[in-house]
Every structure is written in structure tokens, then in C-alpha cells.
């Protein structure tokens, strides 16, 4: 980084002098040439430089990390890149939401069942944990949080970009 020391990975790849204020130097150390190589292959050094220049210094590290991540995804899947991962993960979110809705409905069904009359059970037949659970009505038990919390989870938590992300709607 800078004169007098080893050039950064980008200047090494681009075969140029690594200036003291090289914009790449803090983020592409010489001991990891692969990192800059894939970013350069996907985005191009001049585009990355422009992107970094438009960002405040304290955000450039995160920007480089996300660019490297996207470049890796594009190298793994040259056709779909990150969009493939987004599609897969959105699918998972939908499935989990469905399973959660089913579980919540099942809980409601169980709660709506009429409570059977408790037979006379001698306390000596129960251990302490069972006794406290039965006496508490089993609403929270050992779970800590009150029940309604998981009912507040909605699909509006998905703050993904508004464009449809399912592949078939993207491409038509």
C-alpha cells in the first residue's frame, strides 16, 4: 500500500504504480489477489473505482464486501448470479411462513377444544415441573416469551425490493 511497500492487489493486477492514496489499497491487500481478480472480472476496475469514490469512506469496506460476494455468486452461476440465491431464499421464506401458519392454526384448534375435567390426581404422582406446568395452564411453560409474539410475524417483514423476484415473472 503506497510507495515503499508492496503494491495492493489491484495495482499488482493492473500493473501500475500503487499510489499513497490508492482507492483500492485499504480493501484489496496484496496477500489476497483472488479477491480483486473476481471483482475486476465481473465489474471492472474503473467501475469499482467510480462506485467507491461515490461512497463515504466509512461505507467503502461494506461496499467492497458486497461486491466481492456478488462477484463470487456470478462466477458460480454465470446466468443467474445473486438472483438465483434470492429466488431460492424467497422460496424458503414462503415455505416457512406456510408451515408457521399451519402450526398456529393447530395451536388455535387445540386451545379451542373444550377443556376436559381434570381427574383427581394425587400431587405425589407428579414431579415438580409437571405440577408447575399444569398449574400455570401451560400458556408459557418453559418458553419464556408470551404466546402472541409469534403470531405477530407477517410477510410485511420482507423488505425485499419491490420488483417481482420469481424467475418466471422476471423473464416474461
Amino acid at each position: 500500500m503506497g510507495s515503499g511497500s508492496s503494491p495492493c492487489a489491484s495495482c499488482k493486477l493492473l500493473r501500475r504504480r500503487c499510489a499513497k492514496d490508492c482507492i483500492f489499497a485499504p480493501y484489496f491487500p496484496p496477500d489476497d489477489p483472488h479477491k480483486f481478480a473476481i471483482v475486476h472480472k465481473v465489474f471492472g476496475a474503473s467501475n469499482v473505482s467510480k462506485m467507491l469514490q461515490e461512497l463515504p469512506v466509512h461505507q467503502r469496506g461494506d461496499a467492497v464486501s458486497s461486491l466481492v460476494y456478488e462477484a463470487n455468486a456470478r462466477m458460480r452461476d454465470p446466468v443467474y448470479g445473486c438472483v438465483g440465491a434470492i429466488s431460492y431464499l424467497q422460496n424458503q421464506v414462503s415455505q416457512l411462513q406456510m408451515q408457521l401458519a399451519v402450526a398456529q392454526a393447530e395451536i388455535l384448534c387445540i386451545q379451542m377444544q373444550p377443556e376436559p375435567e381434570l381427574p383427581a390426581i394425587h400431587p405425589s404422582m407428579m414431579d415438580c415441573d409437571t405440577k408447575s406446568l399444569v398449574l400455570s395452564g401451560g400458556n408459557t411453560g418453559n418458553f419464556g416469551d408470551p404466546m402472541p409474539q409469534f403470531l405477530s410475524y407477517t410477510s410485511s417483514n420482507n423488505n425485499a425490493i419491490q420488483d417481482p423476484l420469481k424467475r418466471e415473472s422476471l423473464w416474461t
Partner: protein, 144 residues
Amino acid sequence: MTSTRCAVCKYFRRRCPPDCIFSPHFLNDNPQRFTCVHKIYGASNLGKLLQETPMQLRADTIESLYYEAKCRIQDPVYGCAGIIWSLHQQIQIAQSQLARARAEIAFLDANVVVAEPTPSPGEPVVQQNGVDYGLDDPYDFWFY
């Protein structure tokens, strides 16, 4: 004289050859699509990527590049990676809530079992609390 150049060749003010690699995907009527992709990836990288992609997959490739470029323009720091990280968090939350809901079901079912008449006072009550969280297989995600 109407222009038959594609959006890319029009942008670069050059003649659009009949075998222009960009013309099927960047029509003249939507110049913003190319400027978006060009801003993030550059025309040269785009051309190389298209050349390395089989023809039947190029349309999908361009669409995904366009989508990622839009994400990056909207969020210059995190781009698409921000969406992926957000989805991972949502999955973790949903899995946790699902596990709790299923444990709650198991607990409620066990309570119903406990409340049923016991066989005889002499026999101990066996707590059948086999909690099956039923979590799906861990999701596989890409992190370098």
C-alpha cells in the same frame, strides 16, 4: 430515416452490425435498461460475459444482470447482497418461531395426555413429551 441501431450502439454512437451481440437484448425503445447495466458492469465486461454464455441463456443472464444493477443503484453499499442477508435473517426468525410453535403444540398435546384419566393410583405417570421440533434441513447459502 429511422434508426435501426440497438440501444447499446446508439449509446456509443456507432453502427449496429447485423450480428451485434447486444441487439437482441437491448432494444432501442428502452435505453435506460442498458445505461443501468453499463453503469455497474460496463459494456466491455457485459460483452465478454455474453460471449461466454450459450445463446439460449443470454436473455436470462441479461435479466439477472439488469436486476442486480438496479439493486446496486438503489443501494450502492449492499446491492443484492443486502437482500440476501435480509432473507437469511427472515429465515432464521421464521425457523425459530416455527420451532417454538411446534414445541407449544407438543406441550399442549402432552397436557391433554396428562389430563386424561390415569390407569390406577399406584402406577407412575409417564410424561410423554417427545418434542419434535421438525426443523427442515439447514439451508445452504453462499458466503465466501
